[in-house]
Symmetry: C2
Subunit: 364 residues, 2 copies
């Protein structure tokens, strides 16, 4: 397929931008968005950057009925030297296509999509906030738009990218959270959609999250859906435990999301010669390690927080206080390094960052 | 809460209606739709019947990202005496609220929603087709519309009802289908959303359906997600087996949808003193019954087909030909009776039908 050109229609009046210290997450959107359509036999076409605006969608559009939708989340950071950079965005595009495959959505051209994202961010570059810890959140997503309510894969889609300036996740420094092990609800199961970043996975998680929040905990720790025994994820993050000097994270088993921050953490630990292993770990094993005094640290990893230390873990009537409820050394070092690379304070030995003005896959 | 009034805005020009013999499923929609909004602190409000039209929805609306959406499906039938009737619609409203609860969507007033559906069907009554086997499909659904991409339950929703005239499912008489047992993909699992009618369940089912269609089978038979051993559903229908004179259907276990046709089949069989039991049944047990020559009939049940006889079942390399690939006596009798009641050819001993001109819950 010949590469498409991206039509650009700029907005006539720009919105007022919020102050950096008033930013939260995901409620304010920038001046422009990227939209591309899919239909047969054209394939993906009509790539456009247009003013941010409502969609006109028929009530019979499939996305409203059968949730055939996938998404990604990544961030643009303003670095110390003033450039705007993305963190491993090619990984998001790869995962988007894996999600597409699971939900019978036609694949996108990953390089072209990344080029579109860079151009969109470049046009709205004034929206990338300046304060340490802030960023411009990028939300690519695909929805099924065929006007048909039979249960089948859609023949029409929209690929859309919207941008939202977000505040610092930790306004007063990295801070541990309290997590409760979920023993009733299940996020997903092997053979399901857990590996894919589909809307349905998140809809399914709301109830457990709502119930746990009422008990004073921040997120749930998900166990596997088959035996309700093995640790999978924490909230919408991957999870790591340091036990007796070794860092353990659940092995990707078909129901765990392959997090990009997760793989970055693993690569960093390996780079530092800190023992790290991906393996199946049960909640019982974790508790036994805790009883032996060997559970030294626990943390979640994800795009939003980067690292979220776990200070307390509730499992039934058992309460595990980890590292005296404080952020552990590894958690802190990983957090400082990844954010240091993202904001350009530190060297980028892995070539993780991509300048938005540079063509992929050539990196700066 | 005081009962809302329904504002009615009729369309100025009516669409052309298709001929009954050209009707298929779910592609054509009528002149009007029902819409009601939810926001806090108002609750459900702004109930309106308006011309069928596209929705204006922000790209940041939650439904596009986290699939917080539920739906129902039921039909309006034109009966022999010219009245238009719904089949057990109060059951759909009950189930809608159970689905709402699972996905953290605020409950609807079931009686009011049913009243709205009746009024909408009444306004578009000329769209209810006349030919035997045709009907007007009713699709109530709820979508989350808050413009926020944080993972949490939405604070805004739309409840929408659209109508679509549908052709006869069996144009040349009830006809058995070929089904293949799915052993890789999983529909859902206990603790997941399988009991609820959520968009995400259907998105998750597309891949298996697409693959099975390539091998010449119509639908998949879903096994449980835990042991991949016990029979759950067939495609998007519930399933029944007649073994040695007894009709067996999988017991509702937390991952099986509580079908309204399913419960109607059970009630009918009990009424006829035909042994019927809800219990866990494994695919091995079914195969053993087949080998003993005791698997006499198999059929799916659902709103679309009412009864879908299963003539062939493929399980790995085993091929089960059921009742010589023909429609069984029980399948036929259940089908004839339910459709007979729906179209007013037969008495309705259970008071299943509700006239659209009659207030619920008072039945005709």
């Amino acid at each position: 397929m010949e590469e498409q050109t991206i039509r650009v229609q700029r907005c006539e009046t720009k919105k007022e931008k919020p102050q950096d210290d008033q930013l939260s997450f995901g409620k304010i959107f920038t001046d422009h968005m990227f939209v591309m359509d899919y239909s047969e036999p054209l394939g993906w076409h009509n790539a456009s950057i247009v003013p941010y605006q409502p969609l006109q969608i028929e009530p019979s559009a499939m996305v409203f009925h059968y949730a055939q939708s996938v998404f990604e989340g990544l961030k643009a950071y303003r670095t110390d030297n003033g450039s705007i950079e993305l963190f491993r965005p090619e990984k998001n595009m790869e995962r988007l296509n894996r999600s597409n495959d699971r939900l019978c959505i036609p694949p996108i051209d990953e390089e072209f999509a990344l080029k579109a994202i860079k151009q969109l961010v470049s046009i709205d570059r004034d929206w990338v906030p300046h304060t340490e810890g802030t960023s411009l959140y990028i939300r690519p997503f695909i929805i099924s738009t065929e006007t048909y309510i039979g249960v089948s894969a859609s023949t029409r889609y929209k690929f859309i990218v919207i941008l939202s300036p977000v505040g610092a996740y930790y306004k007063e420094g990295i801070n541990p959270v309290k997590i409760a092990v979920e023993d009733e609800y299940v996020r997903t199961v092997k053979g399901g959609t857990g590996e894919a970043k589909t809307g349905g996975n998140y809809a399914a998680s709301l109830k457990a999250q709502e119930l746990v929040a009422q008990t004073g905990y921040t997120q749930v720790l998900w166990l596997d859906g088959v035996e309700k025994k093995y640790i999978e994820e924490v909230g919408s993050m991957n999870v790591f435990f340091k036990i007796n000097g070794e860092v353990i994270t659940p092995k990707l088993n078909g129901s765990i999301l392959s997090g990009i921050t997760r793989s970055s953490v693993i690569e960093l630990l390996q780079h530092w010669d800190i023992p790290v292993v991906e393996k199946r770990i049960s909640i019982e094993e974790l508790y036994e390690a805790y009883q032996r005094g060997e559970l030294e640290e626990a943390f979640g990893s994800g795009t939003a927080a980067v690292i979220s230390p776990i200070g307390e873990l509730k499992w039934g009537d058992k309460q595990l206080i980890i590292n005296d409820g404080k952020t552990g050394d590894i958690s802190k070092k990983v957090y400082d390094t990844i954010t240091g690379i993202q904001y350009g304070h530190m060297e980028d030995p892995f070539n993780w960052m991509q300048n938005i003005e540079t063509e992929s896959p050539v990196k700066h």
